[in-house]
Symmetry: C2
Subunit: 133 residues, 2 copies
DNA sequence: CTAGGGGTTCCTGTCACTGGAAGGTCAATG
DNA sequence: CATTGACCTTCCAGTGACAGGAACCCCTAG
């Protein structure tokens, strides 16, 4: 199957598949005309990558997960560790964004948002002490 | 004040300040020796930018906020709109990450994480239907 | 024979910096 | 006066994970 079919089968854009070949995540065969030839196994790998990426795993994590997937002697502990580290990063990111949300929420609440120029949001960004809080 | 002092005063790395000049967020004067010369006003702007960036505003948002900050005839509604749009992006991102966390949590919980090879995390990534859930 | 819809490579751009190389300038010291 | 070391300058490359587009090749149908 050529790249268009592989894209349809895996749900990944052809551009992305070419990129994955560039960084050696997949290594499709080549036909006489220079076209990539994807096996079922290649397509399966691509779908695996698509799902791993949609869970937010980095490309390097994907590389690790893929090699674990293909290793019949893997230990599930290794997979779990990768997933847990990823989960930790996500949780830290959530906490960080929630803190931002809290700050922004407060600033927005205090700004009347009309056609007058005075604005607690700008005051805060300018480092001015807040007299209304 | 030269770039090192401006960096210390604003809390931004000198590299970042040079970059901000590159993209015309600040326009410090130049001395006879070619060194940048930052006024108090410049330093204040840099600190403003640092705070806006730390709230997660994009550079383009910062550009807008800075011009609003410097416009005495601004309407606070304009500032509030920028902030609300940013807040919306943050909230969408939080929701997205929370969904990822939920999925990952479940997968991790079901993986025994020992030295055996069978692993629900890999099974899920491989697209296999789950028999234990 | 031509048109179109595949495919190919290569280059550029994204975002907001960061690191590093090669070299100029300044203030203090020997 | 020469040197040292801290500072400054510019320019180039890399980050992550692609996306857009140009220029060109290939295959099939009409």
């Amino acid at each position: 199957m050529n790249i268009g079919e592989a894209a349809a089968a895996s749900g990944l854009p052809a551009k992305t598949i070419r990129y994955y070949e560039d960084i050696r995540l997949v290594r499709p065969a080549r036909g006489a005309n220079g076209y990539r030839e994807f096996s079922e196994r290649d397509a399966h790998k691509l779908a695996f990558l698509g799902r791993a990426r949609s869970l937010g795993f980095s490309i390097e994590d994907c590389r690790t997960l893929l090699s674990l997937y293909e290793d019949r002697d893997r230990a599930s502990a290794d997979v779990k560790r990768v997933a847990r580290e990823h989960l930790g990063r996500i949780e830290r990111k959530i906490a960080e964004l929630q803190a931002l949300r809290g700050t922004l929420d407060q600033l927005i609440a205090r700004c009347h948002g009309d056609d007058r120029p005075d604005c607690p949001i700008l005051d805060d960004l300018a480092g001015e002490p807040d007299r209304t809080r």
